[in-house]
């Protein structure tokens, strides 16, 4: 029998309920407000009193209203049909909702219940299987969507029967398994899983050993992210966080993209679902939307559901990872999620930590980032969830709690700088503050060796050093004046400008430049580094500046031309002439 309770107190969306039976932490309940069911989850229990956060407005609620507890935590429904869907933070399907406005208490089911999927069995009767093993597959868009033994199944099972090729809905039984006690268990194509619990039905989680290409040069070349790695993008407003994340989502070498719009502008989400259905995946030629799921809990949607949205997104990511797919999860912005935690903690009158955030904020953030990763599945295949979150630091100050906590958890740091954005140097990723820990991984260095060449990482570090020395020289020039420093300083400065303009800056709105595959990146980088290693003689600093400006312009024209096209080669020739003219 379900536990029930009555409302005894209300402060905004924090409600206390006196319960008549057992409740568990994070258990879901529905509060009945004159016939409208408001979803809530337990966040604290004190004696007979359960504190719940309500996922909707509590306007009109009164003491004495009834609540019914559901015996489970917040769950998502997993099965074919998730891709190309648009959900809210609780996985309600926004597309199937009626009316222009969101209605309180309206919950729509995440998966199409009537759609028939073309099922192909992968297991055979007699096979011994356990949770997350593949029983069959359906085609979801162009991706093979594996139908798995539900993650909640414990122990091993014997396949008694399995459906043969044919069309099924998500609720039809496609296999009958026999458990260790000899009982039959039916398996359908959908299953449920609590979002706050990581799906760990894999063999092991090795260190990431290959990079994930994003086709953004400042990431791939200078601060590469590993497949199954984690990274974050902090930046003040107007520094281009969203443009950068959108670029990554369009171009990354991933099978599945999950985009969690967490407490951000609704019009930005509109941009995604207006543009993505029209954009082609550069790799497969299919529409981008076919591999994309949007979890959309914009800033004006209920705060508690905002907190849930990142977990919903992560759980869906882990689900697709179990199919042996490469998943890229993007969350914009994790600061809004932290703020949701702060609002609740405040209402519960907990002692605050820095900037009134809850004390356990660093722990919450790091255990969330820890759910990403590359895994070896039980069948020997690999799957991965790569996670990149944005952070919106208050006042652009990177010393605030969310940025600092995230810095401890994420392995790549793509710091967006206001001064670069002001000078229109996009993407405004600061080349000196940003880092990728993966450049230190022997596995990753090895991966680069195989992909590009023996000394790649060494060369990258060299380039970083040139940029750093260029910045130091620039500061000296600014203090002492153009004439007040040796010519060597100008050379140093212009070498760093060369790398900045040709490699680090990239035009996200130009079709060719925006999408720069690794092969092209390494070609251009070697070319640029080669020029940096050559010494030229100049009579004065003006000659030096003019020379580098000229070759920067030519190299940029190459960036805008199709790789190895006629135009490209023409500019290459022009570059060589210009280099030969220099002494």
């Amino acid at each position: 029998m379900k536990t029930t309770g009555i409302v005894t107190g209300i402060i905004s969306n924090l409600v206390t309920i006196e319960v008549d039976g057992p409740v568990s932490q994070n258990e879901i309940c529905y509060i009945d407000l004159s016939g409208t069911k408001l979803m809530a989850d337990v966040i604290k229990v004190n004696g007979k009193e359960a504190f719940v956060q309500v996922y909707e407005s509590t306007r009109g609620l009164k003491t004495g209203d009834k609540a019914e507890f559901q015996g489970h935590m917040l769950e998502v429904l997993l099965g074919p049909g998730i891709l190309s869907s648009i959900y809210d933070g609780l996985q309600n399907n926004l597309v199937t909702m009626d009316g222009v406005f969101l209605k309180r208490g309206e919950y729509t089911i995440a998966l199409d219940q009537d759609k028939k999927w073309e099922f192909k069995p992968l297991a055979s009767p007699g096979d011994v299987v356990s949770a997350a093993d593949w029983l069959g597959e359906v085609k979801e868009g162009w991706l093979p969507h594996k139908i798995m033994v539900p993650f909640t199944f414990e122990g091993s099972f014997k396949v008694k029967s399995i459906a043969s090729e044919g069309e099924f809905t998500v609720n039809e039984t496609i296999a009958v398994l026999v458990n260790e006690s000899g009982e039959d268990v039916n398996v359908t194509m959908s299953q449920k899983w609590p979002v706050k619990v990581a799906i760990t039905k894999y063999a092991d989680k090795p260190r990431p050993y290959r990079i994930m290409e994003t086709r953004v040069r400042v990431i791939d070349t200078f601060n590469p992210i590993a497949e199954g790695g984690t990274g974050f993008i902090p930046g003040p407003f107007g520094s281009g966080k969203t443009v950068l994340q959108h670029a990554i989502s369009k171009q990354a070498d991933a099978d599945v993209i999950i985009f969690a719009a967490c407490g951000e502008r609704a019009n930005e989400v509109v941009e995604i679902f207006t543009e993505f259905p029209l954009l082609e995946d550069p790799r497969t030629g299919r529409m981008l939307m076919e591999r994309t799921t949007i979890i959309c809990n914009t800033s004006n949607m209920p705060v508690a559901a905002r907190e849930a949205s990142v977990y919903t997104a992560m759980t869906i990511g882990e689900y697709y990872r179990s199919m042996g797919l490469k998943v890229l999860l993007l969350a914009d912005s994790t600061s809004r999620w932290a703020q949701a935690l702060r609002e609740m903690s405040n209402r519960m009158e907990e002692l605050p930590g820095a900037d009134a955030f809850p004390m356990d904020l660093p722990a919450i953030i790091s255990s969330f980032y820890a759910r990403a990763g590359l895994v070896n599945l039980n069948n020997g295949q690999t799957g991965s969830v790569t996670f990149i979150g944005t952070v919106s630091p208050a006042g652009g100050n990177l010393k605030e709690p969310v940025t600092e906590s995230t810095k401890k958890a994420a392995r790549c740091f793509f710091a967006l700088s206001q001064s670069r954005a002001d000078r229109k140097r996009y993407p405004a990723v600061d080349p000196i503050d940003s880092y990728s820990k993966y450049l230190e991984y022997p596995e990753i260095i090895e991966d680069f060796k195989n992909r590009i060449g023996e000394e790649w990482v060494e060369k990258v570090l060299k380039g970083k050093n040139i940029v750093l020395r260029g910045k130091e020289a620039y500061e000296q020039i600014n203090i002492l004046g153009d004439d007040g420093v040796p010519l060597e300083y100008h050379k140093r400065y212009w070498k760093s400008e060369l790398i900045d303009f040709v490699i680090l800056q990239q035009d996200a709105f130009d079709k060719i430049d925006a999408n720069c595959p690794m092969e092209r990146q390494s070609y251009m980088y070697y070319l640029v580094l080669d020029i940096c290693e050559r010494e030229f003689d100049f009579d004065n600093f003006e000659e030096c500046g003019n020379f580098y400006k000229k070759i920067i312009n030519t190299l940029r024209q190459m960036n805008y031309s199709k790789f190895r096209s006629e135009d490209f080669n023409k500019y290459l020739e022009q570059l060589n002439n210009e280099l030969n003219d220099g002494k």
Binding site: I10, K62, I86, L94, F237, S299
Partner: protein
Amino acid sequence: MASKAFQKIYTQLESITKATVALRAQGITNEELATVGGRLAQVVKIKRDLVTLQVFAGTDGIPTNAEVVFFGEPPTLNVSEDLAGRFFNAYGDPIDNGPSVDGEKRFIGGPSVNPYRRKQPSELIPTGIAGIDLNNTLVSGQKIPFFADPDQPYNQVMAQVALRADVDKIILGGMGLTNDDYLYYKQIFENAGALNKIISFVNTTEQPPVERLLIPDMALTAAEYFAVDKNEKVLVLLTDMTLYADALSIVSHRMDQIPSKDSMPGSLYSDLAKIYEKAVQLPDGGSITIIAVTTLSGGDITHAIPDNTGYITEGQLFLRTDSDTGKVIVDPFRSLSRLKQLVIGKKTREDHNHVMNAAVRLYADAANAKTKMENGFDLSDYDHRCLEFAKDYSNKLLAIEVNINTTQMLDTAWDLFGKHFTKTEVSIKGDITEKYWKN
């Protein structure tokens, strides 16, 4: 807010603070309205039968035996076409000596638009001000604030924008307006003969600050009526959102909440987003566009209020007095309209983007030349021409009193390019330059 039969009436207050009262009462719903000793109040907290009410006008002089009358529902606004041309206070009661408005009763602060039902904003809202139309074009469904220091004429600029904008309804939400500014708005709207498309909700500095909290919701409820029910293009003006946020912090402090940055409540981002995100382009053609004012203290945009605002809004506009010409201009460097890419060159002439970028770049060169001049360096011929251009640009385009359409702005810009520069210096794509260059 007339009283009705069968209302619950109590006369025993348990506690009184500066802004709240608490009493024992049964069957009270969250956020419902009441009067406490005749003053409007709203339920903010319920603990068993102990109900805490926030009294908008403050609790000065409230006795422990004050009469508390519960209304059984949250704040509402009567909506109909009759709203047009009227002035109301924060409670939606007329303050223009006119009759009260009949119409459908709507709860204020209603639900959000399903993001999936939104349309991508794509209609330009012309204002005649080049600093906006040319450099930072507004788009219907956008939300954008003026970041201005208190001494800048932001209310005048906003009134101008409102009167020139091609929209069906203009809704003014005035929070902490000085009485002088309120009368200024009233007069300028009357003089323009535009009163029939304007609706005002006003809280002046003479009224209690906490009342301000109702203003945005009132204004936006009216806006949603015209945009959603009538498919109209609605422009909402909110001034000054800094005073709104200050009122939020007053309330949260009095309710013993832990303050976060700059003593603002931890929920400031969500509170502001709930207002600004009402800006929307609806599928059936209606739209709500929000232009707000956020006053800054000494131009500091890292303060919690402008900072959170910047993360929510789609750009920001900075006002500045140009010292060379003495004209108030919309600063071309710091201002930004995030949605302009959706309309420029698409809804405006093809050369828009190029002209905008070239003019701003040349204006930046002028700024550099000026620095050089101030530091006592020699100026080149190019520097001198840049400075001359900057003066013309500021006088003939940026000055907010200039009122021309976008095509005229583009033509004026080409005039200035031709007057001061060579084609290579302006450096716009070849075919565009050939087509529009003027000597």
